[in-house]
Every structure is written in C-alpha cells, then in structure tokens.
Amino acid sequence: MNKEHKPIIRVENLTVAFGDFKAVDGISFSVERGEIFGFLGANGAGKTTTIRCICGLLNPTQGVVEVDGKDVSSSTLVLKPHIGYMSQKFTLYPDLTVRENLVFAGSLYGLTRAQIKTRAAELMQFIGLTQHLDEPVKLLSGGVKQVVALAATLLHNPDLIFLDEPTAGTSPATRADFWRLIRTLAQNGKTIFVTTHYMDEAEYCGRIVLMERGKIIAAGTPQALKKQFFPQPPVELLFKRPEQARVRAELKARNIASAQMFGDALRAEVQDAARFDKYTRQNQAIFDVHPAQPTLEDVFLKAVCGREGK
C-alpha cells in the first residue's frame, strides 16, 4: 500500500439498511495509518456492519467507503490481500489442527506452503503458542482459540487489521495479552481497527468513535472525549461513616451534584461548585473529597443519556 499522507480509511455518509431497519445511519469518519482506532458501542449499534462494509463483505446502501483511496465495492479484490479481518464469529475449523487451519487460511491468500511455514513459525513465536501447533482447535481453551484466530488473520501480513470484538468472553489475563499483541502490531506500523464493548480497553486506542443505534454519538481521542463530556472532572467522596445513601439523596435533592455509587465511595459530578464546597465543609466528619478521573465508561453513559434525554 502506498504510504502517502492520506487517511487509510475514509467513510462518508455511510448508510446500510436491511429493509426498513437502518443498521448504520449516515456515519462519517476516517482512520489514519498506524493508529489503533477503537469502535465502541453496545451490541447492535452497527459496529460489525460498518466493518463488513469496509472489508467489502457487504455493499453499502448509500455513501462512500474508501480504503487507501480506492472505492471498496469496485476494487474489492485488489484491497483484500492488504486487509486482515478477524470476525466476531469464530472462523477456525474446530476439527482441524492449528497448523492445518493456518495452512488453509494461507492458501486462501495464495501463499505457498514454504511461505506459510515460515510465517506460521514467526506468528506462533509472536503470540507465544508454539506448543499448540498440532492440536485440534476444538481442544483449545477460548482464549487460546482467539489468539490462534488472530494469527490466522495476520498470516498474509496485512497492513490494515480489523478485529471485531476480539476479546469478547475471554479472561482478563487473555485480554491483557491480546492488547499487548495489538500494541506491538501498531508499533510495527499496522493500522488496527478494533471494536469492543469493554470501555477499559478503549483507553488503549489512539482515537475512538462511539456508536449508538447506527449513529456516531461521539468521536475523538480518549482524553478529548473526557474533556468534552466532563469539562469539570468529577470528584470522589470517600466515606468515614457509612452514610453514602443519605448523602447521595441530599446532593440530588438539593441539585448540588449527581452522584453514583462506586464501590464504597460516591462519584459525583458537581453542578453547583459553591454550594458543593459548603456542603463538604458541613460534612467533613463523614467524607473526604478527592479529585477523580472520568473513565470512558462515564463518557459513554453520559453520551448515551444525553442523546436519550433529547
């Protein structure tokens, strides 16, 4: 792929309709080379449909989808060798071994046996699974299966990698491993387009887009999004006496702040700073106030609530 300074993916006014239902409703965004681009949203928000359009698996009802400056629907076969797509569905053959799966995946991209062998050895080293090479995939644990699926996606050394909920249903340890791999890939100059509904994972992304019912409701770097939705950072109230429920109700009733339980603590978004300070001073014996960082989860909740409030 050419390395000009142009976005690697450009989506403009993309709409995908299945009958009357619009799975994706007029979205626009672009992805730069070498970034980890996070695509966030609940199930059914339209993430997978968007990916399928960019990979050329689905034809858009309306709009422009370009990869590397080329229109996807008219030059699918030229683009596909440069794209790696790890589907949300499990796309390995359970009755074949890891090696057999990789060989077949490689042959789909026209790789020779020798090429596949070298590449598989490299990848197995990379993902750290050399010992599983001759085991049938159905005997592997869920996390290992996902990592093998990633290896099959990387076999043809694509520049643009789509990972559709790669960590869904795996253990926290596997998720951490997986993200270590993703970051390494990005450092090697690959562009990673990843969907997830784990908001903590989104913190690893360079830029994110939040989707809700087929529309983009927020976009930007994690920091920018936090700033945008929380111009005033929230505070955390740490309690010395267990009176969280009373405090929360009072803050709400007097329109001083909206607060949510957060473990033992309350996380509050201050609406009226002066009165909040006063209230804090009055209740010094009950709780201390500490500044807190908003999470992307908070951003997402606020973005969704904001829309629903409209």
Partner: protein, 369 residues
C-alpha cells in the same frame, strides 16, 4: 475469472482432512452406497422365486417327470412334486403349492400328441403380479418339455415365443445396480456437499472465505471439486461390487462410465450449490436436499419406467438429470455400444448441467448482502 491452483489445493486438503476426521461423514459417503448396493443386489428383487409347484399326474408319466426336473433346475421353483391323487384346490388352500398343473384324464402324452388339448393350471393369484409370472414360467417349462420330446404344439394353448434381450435371466440385480450408481451417488453428493457449504455459513467460516481475496469461482470450485472426485469414486465402487460380487455384465467401456458419471456428478453438485445459496443452516440444507431427492428419484426411471409415467410428470422426468444418467448407465453396462443413445443422453445431461451451473453461479454471492 481467476482460479489459482494453490487455492484449490488448499480446499482439497482441507475438505479431505475434514472428511477423514469425521467417522460419520466417511460412513455416509462410502458405507451407505455400499449397503444400498448389497441390499438391492441381494434382497430387494422383484423377481418371482421360491414358487411351490404341484403336478397332478401319474407318477409314471415321463412328461410329468421331465416337467418336474426342469422346474427344479430352473431356479424359480423351490419344490416341484408329482401327486397322483390329490385335490388341487386344497393343495393351494393349504399352501402346500402355489401352482398346480393338472394333467388331462388320459395323461400328458396323449394330450400333447393331439396338440390342442387344454392343460389346466391353477395358480394362487392373491398376488396378481406374482401369479402372472408363475403362469409364464409353467407355460415356458411345458413348452420346452414338449419341444424336447418332439411334440408339435404350435397350434395349441401351450404356445410361447418369448425372447428376452440383454438381460437373459430378467435379473433385477443387473437392472438395478446401474441405476444405483446414479441414485446412491446423487444422494451422497447432494447431501454431503450441500451440508458442507451450509456448515461454512452456519459456523461463520464462510465470512473468512469471503473476506479473503478468493474469487467466487475459487470458492465454488474449492467447495465442490473434492466432492466431484468422491462422486466418481463411489460410482466406481458400486460398479466394482456389481461386477465382482453380483456378476452383472459390463459390456460398455470405462470412459463411457467416466463421462456419464462426471456429467451427473456435476449436475448433482450444481443442485447442491443452488440449495446452499438459499439456506443458511445445515438442517435447512438437509431439508432442501430431501425436497429435491424424493421426486428426483421417483421421476428418474430407477424404479418406475419413464414410459409408464403419465404426461405431466413425464415432462418433469425429461428435466431430471438423474433420468438421463440412469438410462445411460443401464445402456452402457448391460448393452454396450449404442453410441447414438449414449451421446444423445450425454447431450441433454450437458444442457441441464450448463443451466444448473449458471443458476448456481448467478446465485452464489461473494458478499453477505
């Protein structure tokens, strides 16, 4: 149209590994056609056998004894006994005999000399078809005995002139096995290949195939060519069992079997592809195959001669690729070289294949839309 060898090789290796690793699949592909062949070869025969014949005559009658000997030698009769005094009706009622041949009062010899004396034959006709055949057997035996003994029976009741060509014993096995080569193979290919494609859709692996730079042609060929090879192997297997075990004649040549086998295997796989384009699960693919197979087999001439099928349905026979291939295998194997018939059947098979493959190709999508 781009077809890369490396991709097809990949598919071949994958499909065969998956089949070999699944005992159920192996069973379905090779064992079921074999069982069908053995069943049709040994047990399911429409031939009338094991008839019990009684002859009412003087035990000293030479003709009666000849008839008994011939009947026993023919292989159609289980027993053939001569009774001097017995009630023919009660012989049949007590089920000691299925057919009773009654000599005239003065004996067979006198009657045959005169040439026109009626000889009575009682047959248990609770099964009309069977009775007709028994009737035919007895007439034939009596005629042979008379001819052998030098009696002129040309003007009498006992007058038979029947010649059976190509299948001298009217042996159902020889007739059924060529048809089975089509029927069994067609069933296996339709079900197994249809399910193999549906499985890719059902489990999501189809998405992997479509997201790769494989062309539609490569995916279609990759998913069908391995089964094409399997189809030809099954055809060969049934032919081998037929010839080696059941001793059916093989009068044609192997290349004819190959051409006909290849054409109908192609048609079966095209039908499987078409079914797989409209279904999304293996269960639906199975249902789809059954919907095609039932009328497909009934209107193929395997069991019921096409000439006996009434007008509307006969037209459907002519659209059925199985019909042409069954006719071709029967002709090639039992009859040998009627090239005109062979090529005309092949021609229509090819036309049907082209239509089916075009439909499959048009419907097979390279996107998920």
């Amino acid at each position: 149209m781009k077809i890369r060898r490396i991709v097809l090789q990949g598919f071949f290796k994958k499909e065969f590994t998956q089949i070999v690793r699944d005992p159920k699949m192996l069973f379905a592909i090779f064992f079921i056609p074999l069982i069908q062949t053995v069943m049709f070869g040994l047990a399911l025969t429409s031939e009338v056998k094991n008839v019990e014949l009684a002859v009412l005559a003087k035990p000293s009658s030479r003709v009666a004894r000849d008839i008994r000997a011939r009947a026993q030698a023919s292989g159609w009769f289980k027993v053939a006994d001569i009774f001097e005094h017995a009630d023919p009706v009660s012989l049949i009622e007590s089920r000691r005999a299925e057919a009773v041949l009654i000599a005239p009062k003065e004996g067979f010899e006198k009657a045959l000399e005169r040439g026109s004396e009626p000889v009575q034959l009682l047959v248990n006709a609770t099964n009309a078809q069977r009775a007709q055949q028994v009737n035919g057997y007895v007439q034939q035996i009596v005629a042979e005995v008379a001819a052998q003994r030098g009696y002129d029976v040309s003007s009498g009741v006992i007058q038979l002139d029947e010649r059976v060509l190509f299948n001298h014993n009217l042996d159902t096995t020889s007739y059924m096995i060529p048809a089975l080569m089509v029927m069994s193979t067609f069933i296996v290919l339709l079900v197994v290949c249809g399910m193999a494609i549906a499985k890719e859709k059902e489990t999501g692996t189809m998405e992997k195939l479509i997201s790769s730079p494989c062309t539609v042609e490569e995916i279609m060929l990759g998913k069908t060519l391995p089964y094409f090879v399997i189809g030809l192997v099954i055809v060969g297997l049934i032919l081998f069992v037929g010839v080696a075990w059941f001793g059916i004649p093989f009068r044609g040549s192997l290349w004819q079997v190959g051409v006909n086998g290849g054409l109908f295997a192609l048609s079966a796989l095209a039908v499987a592809l078409i079914i797989s384009t409209v279904v999304s699960t293996q269960q639906q693919a199975m249902m789809g195959s059954m919907l095609y197979l039932l009328p497909g087999i009934l209107l193929s001439g395997v069991f019921f001669p096409v000439a006996n099928i009434p007008g509307v349905f006969r037209w459907m026979c002519y659209l059925n690729p199985m019909m042409y291939s069954v006719a071709n295998f029967r002709a090639v194997i039992l009859k040998g070289g009627d090239m005109g018939l062979f090529w005309s059947n092949c021609f229509w098979l090819t036309v049907i294949c082209v239509v089916l493959c075009t439909c499959a190709y048009k419907n097979f999508k390279s996107t998920l839309n």
